[in-house]
């Protein structure tokens, strides 16, 4: 596809369940970012990959959050033992080169923890 694709679009998880969220960046894009957007707030940075290397994970809120991009394309954000405060929209963005002057966002995955 032409844009950043995220799946699933919606996910309902029971508290304590593990979830995996997928991001397919634009083909050939070097950089990939994950954001968390709580209801009524702006996106908050979680982590950044350059190819397969995770260069910045300063925004991950706890050690229950883990992200990977093993082959430098598709990325997965995993949340273990989900809690209600994890309910949010998780956004993925990619950028074509190392200058990262523009980020292209996906539509996000809305996670609801019940």
């Amino acid at each position: 596809g032409a844009g950043v694709s995220q799946s699933p679009r919606y996910k309902v998880a029971k508290r304590g369940q593990d979830v995996a969220l997928r991001c397919d960046p634009i083909s050939g894009h070097v950089s990939l970012f994950w954001y968390q957007q709580a209801l009524g707030q702006g996106p908050e940075f979680l982590t950044y990959f350059q190819n397969e290397a995770q260069l910045d994970k300063s925004g991950l809120p706890s050690d229950r959050f883990f992200a990977e991009r093993p082959e430098g394309s598709v990325s997965t954000l995993k949340i273990q033992r989900t809690q209600q405060e994890d309910s949010a929209v998780y956004l993925c963005a990619s950028s074509p080169d190392l200058s990262n002057t523009e980020a292209f966002f996906g539509q996000g995955t809305r996670l609801t923890v019940v």
């Binding site: 009524g40 707030q41 702006g42 940075f45 950044y48 956004l91 990262n100 002057t101 523009e102 980020a103």
Partner: protein, 114 residues
């Protein structure tokens, strides 16, 4: 830590009215500034960005923004809004050229009445 303030949470205008959305940031060093728009049901899209040079930046769809360093502001303007401008608008700041790692404001919802 840097922060971004968007003072107007919800703005309602009639078509052809002029628009100005406020954005102030807290970081005192060199910054790069962005405005994103999110139309209902769609992903975040870049409206315009400022890295250096002319502080008056023109973006897509007739939008412009002015960077005023002394006021730590980057307000978004449009002389005459249309019904199709109904959307949520986010201001974002980062301290490098890494557009993907940005601090976002909480957004302003713009409703344009036909």
């Amino acid at each position: 830590a840097q922060s971004v303030s968007q003072h107007n949470h919800h703005v309602i205008l009639s078509e052809a009215a002029s628009l100005e959305l406020g954005c102030n940031y807290s970081y005192g060093g060199t910054v790069n500034l962005f405005w994103y728009v999110q139309y209902p049901g769609q992903h975040l899209q870049l409206l315009l960005k400022y890295f250096s040079g002319d502080p008056l930046v023109k973006g897509i769809k007739g939008f412009e923004a002015e960077f005023i360093k002394s006021k730590f502001s980057f307000n978004l303007r449009k002389p005459s809004v249309q019904w199709s401008d109904t959307a949520e608008y986010f201001c974002a700041v980062n301290r490098g050229t890494n557009a993907g790692k940005s601090t976002f404001g909480d957004g302003t919802t713009l409703t344009v009445k036909p």
